[in-house]
C-alpha cells in the first residue's frame, strides 16, 4: 500500500492540509489489519486510490471471503 505516496499530492479539502502517512486500521469480515495509509492529520480522513482499492484491497477482500 506504500506506492500511494508516489501519487500526485492530494490535500484534504476541508482542512486544507497535506496528507501524512500513518498507521490506519482496516477491517473486513474476520480480518483486522493495520496498514500505513495517507490521511489528513486533522480530520483523519483516509485516502484510498483506485489502484489500491481495485488492486491490493480487492485481493485481500477476496482472500478473506474465501477463508
Amino acid at each position: 500500500m506504500e506506492n500511494q505516496t508516489k501519487e500526485v499530492k492530494w490535500l484534504c479539502d476541508k482542512c486544507q492540509e497535506a496528507l501524512v502517512l500513518e498507521k490506519v486500521k482496516v477491517r473486513y469480515l474476520e480480518g483486522n489489519f493495520e496498514v500505513e495509509l495517507l490521511k489528513c492529520p486533522t480530520c483523519k480522513m483516509v485516502f484510498i486510490s483506485d489502484d489500491l482499492a481495485m488492486g491490493k484491497m480487492l485481493e485481500v477482500e477476496k482472500g478473506l471471503e474465501d477463508k
Binding site: V8, K9, W10, L11, C12, D13, K14, L19, V24, K25, V26, R27, Y28, L29, L37, K39, C43, K44, M45, V46, F47, I48, D50, A53, M54, M57, L58, V60, E61, K62, G63, E65, D66, K67
Partner: protein, 788 residues
Amino acid sequence: MDLDAMLEISNQCIHSEPPVCVASCPVHMDILGLVSAIEQKDFAKAYKVMESKVPFARLVGKICDHPCEKSCVRQSIGGSIRINELEKLVVALGYVPPKKAFPLPKNKGKVAIIGGGLSGCVAALELDKKGYAVTIFEKSTRLGGSLWGYEGKGLEKEILEEELSIILQKGIKVQYQTEVLSTDLEEYFKTYDAIYLGSAKWNQELNVDSQTFQVEKSPLFVGGKLQVKNSSIIHSLSSGKRAAVSIDRFISKTSMLASREREGVFQTKLDFKIDKVATLQSVEKSATVYSEDEACLEASRCLKCQCNECFNACVHMQRFNVTPDSYIRSINHNERIILGTHHANKMINACTQCGLCKEVCPVDIGMKEIIHATRESMVLKGKMPPSAHDFALKDMQFSHSDYFSLVRKQPSKEASKELFYYPVIAFSAYARGLYKGSGKTGYLFYPGCQLSATHTDYIGEIYKHLVGVIKNKDADNDVGLYLGCCGAPADWAGRLDLMPQSVAKIQQTWQEMGEPTFILACSSCTATFEKYLPMIKTISLWEVFDTYGLPEVDIKKGKRELCIHDACATRHNEKLHENIRSIAKTLGYTIQELEFSKEKAKCCGYGGLVAYANPEQACDFVKDRRQESENDVLVYCAMCKDMLVKGEKRAYHILDLIYGNEQNPNTLQKMPTLSERQNNRKRLKQTLLKEIWKEEETMDTDTQYDFTLHLPEQIVALMEKRFILASDVQKVIDNALKTKERFYNPKTSDYLARLRIQNVTYWVKYEEEGLNITVKDVYSHRMEVVEN
C-alpha cells in the same frame, strides 16, 4: 447438506470409466496412455506404459492376441486401432533394458511355482517383487514353455533367452527337469506356504475359484492354460498376475476378495457414442512394421473414448476443467474444511445452474441441485463470499420496494367511463375489455423485474392487449397487473432467508386478488413459480399471444431467418417452445434450430447470477452461444437478450418482433445500464399508474440534487463493470458538497470523495464547474477503513 449422498453421486459419474479396450484387456493396459505417447512419438514412454502392466512386455508386445482390438469402438468406422502393430514398433523403438534393482529381503514366505511357462514366470516375478522366496519347478531344461512355439514366428531366440534370464537375475531359484505330480503336492505343502500351478497339463481335476484361482481353501493356486482354458497369451499372463495377488493375500492372511471386482476382463459402464464420428480407415503399413509416422497416424485415429458429454457442452466445466466426479469431490472438500481457504468458492459461484449437464449425461447426473444445495449451505455457514451476489440481491430488494412493486386490479368500468364513446370504443379492444369489466381478477399479468427493466415500454402495451383479447373471449375474468420480483436472485444465491419472503408476498397477493392465473413473461419467473408456488396456476404470455392473438403490428410474410436461443429455465416447457416458434412463424420469420435448443438449451451466462459473481465466466457462455450461428438470435428471456447483445451478438426479444422493433442491422444494439434498469422500473410504475389507473405517484421517488451529474461514456462502462449505480455516485457527491469531506488535487483541480453506503465504500473523482459535476473515476471497496 448430505455430503456422503453427494459423494455417492460423484461415484456414479462415468467420466473416469475406462474405455472398452482397457476393460477387455485382462491386465488393463493403459491403451489411451500408449496411443498418446505414440502420437507424441515418445516410444520410450509408450514402452513404459506397456511395461507397467505387462511383465515380459518385450516378448508379449510382439505376440499378444489383443482382445482390445476386437472390442475397439473404431471397429465399424474405419477399423479397430491396430494396437498389435503399434506395440511391435514400441518394442522395437522404445525398449530400455531394466535397471538393476536392489534385491529386497525375501522374508514374507516361500512359494513354489510348478511349470516355468509364461504364467509361471509371471507369477514368480510378481511374488519375488512382493518379497517372497520363489522356486520354479520346470520339467524341461529351459523356461518359457509354449513361448518357444513363437521362435522364428515373431520372437527371436536371443531375445527370448535374454528376457527369460531376468528370472535368474532376480535370484529366483529354478529346478529344471523336475516334474511335479499331484501325488507330490502334500510333500511340497510341508516346505512351501503356497503353490502356484502353471503347468499346461495336470493329472487331476481341480475345483478352482474363478475369482481367486484358489483350489478350495488349500494353499494351491492355479493359472495358465489349465485355468484360462485357451491359448491366449495375455489371459495366461493375467492369470499368473492375479494368482500372485491371491497368494500374497493368502499368505499375509488378508481378504481374498476385497476390491477385486474389476480384475481381469470386465464390463465398462462407458458407452461411447459414435454417431458424430467420421469414418477414418486404418493406416496400412508400407513395410513389415509401421514406420514412426505411420504409427503416429494410426494412434491418432484412436477416439480416446471417455465420457465428456457434460464437459463438452458446458463452458463452466471447461473453464474449471472439471467433470461431475472431480467437481463434487472439490465441493466436498470445500464444505468439510474448517480452517484454510475455500478454493472451490469461485467455481461454485460460476455455475449457471442451467441444468444442461443433466440433459446430456448418460447416467443422469446434474450439478444444478448440487450447486444450489451447496450455495445454501455456504450461506448458512456464513461462508458465502458477500461480494458474489450482493449487487443482484440489492437490485432484487429494489424491485421488492415501492419503487417498483405494484398490484392493481383491472381499471373499473366506473373509472374508465371516458373511453366508452365512439370512436375509442369501436377501435380499441382495450376499451371494450374495460367495458366488460367484471370486477373479478381472473388473470394477473406478471411481467417480472428484468423484462420491465429492459423492455419497459412494451409492458403497458402488452397489458392493454391482454385486457382486450382476454376479455373478448372470457368476459368473466378481468386482467390485473402485478409488478415485482419473483425472488429468483435469492434462489440462485442460496438465500433461504430471503426466498420465503418473496414467495410469501406473491402467495398473499394471489390470495387477496382471488387466486387469479398468473400470466408470466419471464422464464426465470416460470421456473421460480414451478418450484416455490405450485399452487398458483400460470400461463405464459407467449401462450396467451399464440392462442388469443397477437397485437396486429407487424405481421407479414417472407421475413428473414433467425436462430432461436431457448431459455434454460424453461428447458422442459415444450408448450412454451412451440408457442414461441409459432409466434415467430406467424410474424413471417423462418426459424433456424440450433444444436443446443429446447431441452438442451444453453445458458446465456446470466443464470445462477454468474454475470455478477464471475463476469469472465458469463462471457464464456455468451461467446459459446455466439459462435453457434451466423444468424441473429431470437430470445424470449430479457436477460438472454441482455447478455447476448452485450456479447456483441444481435439478438431480438420476441416482443421486439411482435411490436415491429427489429432494428436496422447496421445500428448498434444497446441495452440499458444497471442504473437505467432501476430507473426504468421506477418509470414504468409511475407511467402505468398515471396512464392506466389515472393515479399520480405520491411517494417521493427521486431524490433531487442541486448539481448536474455528467458521466462520460468510459465512466458509464466502468460503473457497469464495477457494479456502481449512478444513484450511489450522486450520494457520494452530494455528501462531499455538503460536508466538504473530500480531497483536492491542486495540480489537476480534481476532487476525490468517498461515502460508505451500507457495506460498500464508494469513491468518486470528479471535476466541479459550478453545479456541473463531471465524473473522472469511480471505484469501491468493501473493506472498512477506520478513520480516527
